[in-house]
Amino acid sequence: MKSVKNIQKITKAMKMVAASKLRAIQTKAENSRGLWQPFTALLGDLPSADVKKNVVVTISSDKGLCGGINSTSVKISKGLHKLNSGPEKETKYVILGEKAKAQLVRDSKKDIELIITELQKNPLNYTQVSVLADEILKNVEYDALRIVFNKFHSVVSFVPTVSTVLSPEIVEREAESGGKLGDLDSYEVEGGETKGEILQNLAEFQFSCVMFNAVLENACSEQGARMSAMDSSSRNAGDMLDRLTLTYNRSP
């Protein structure tokens, strides 16, 4: 009984810690939401783009005890992999966070390009994420980058989301075939040697901005999920304690 009471104390404390961490990160995440919107207004988000080289960037947490959010991210990543496999098409993984690494290494070891952990050792900032984005862009060949993360809607609701960033060549291709990106050609491009150079810079900048927002949202979702997981375990511990106390008092 004593151990159950101790567990209850620990989970209650973890819930409080998660709540305070959440408060700190939440404002940052909400402020960063404006960052990717101009890119989406210009280039749109085309998850249905059919490309040869897909890269799935899965964002997860390093620590556990946060409920089911990491499993949902991994499930979606695996789903994307299946959706995009076929002749001449390949999907590679880039993994951020220990929890996704543990799950994906088991069956998709050969498809993993890059694994990055201990992301949250220092508080998240844009410089760190842009260096990360740089590494990924340098080392991985891609036509489309699909970033899988949990979007933070409220303390009890986190929605797994996929953000798609297309490489400049694919953007050109989609622009030519009309549809949403059709009027990209009507944009004058200032500066640089060629239009392609500017579009390349734009795509890289878009990737780092989308990553920054994704990492922050996932961190918020992690804290929120941990809060509710700890809350339910405190409640379970309380119930168990009551039942044990009754049994203890009943027996002679």
């Binding site: 402020n31 960052l35 844009y126 842009s130 009027d183 009507s186 491009v189 200032e190 810079n201 920054f212």
Partner: protein
Amino acid sequence: MTPRPATPSAIPSKLTVNFVLPYASELSAKEVDMVIVPATTGQMGVLPGHVPTIAELKPGILSVHEGNDVTKYFLSSGFALIHANSVADIIAVEAVPVDRLDPALVQKGLADFTQKLGSATTDLEKAEAQIGVDVHSAMNSAITG
């Protein structure tokens, strides 16, 4: 994300500006008369009805003109996207209002980086020092200009 307004047939009277940074949305759907952005090709003025443009930005001053008020920010770099519906998106990595720049530190930084540029050996060092010189000289002209 709130959907963007459609392209009107007549030129609107005001420009709608969204100025975003990684850690904050500095201006969000603000109606102004004109903005001047520091594009790599030079200072570019944007009025309502401007042709759609994608411009890469270099370190310099962004000025927002609203009636008789002018607000100036120093940007590190970024992109400016101008859409057909007179909405301008300016995305910068770092921006500060010009009155927050300390002239003494700017001079010191400029001197430091010029020295590093002189003594740089590898291409990487040269590139980093060059960037430092560019940013600091832009800040210098921002304060004095």
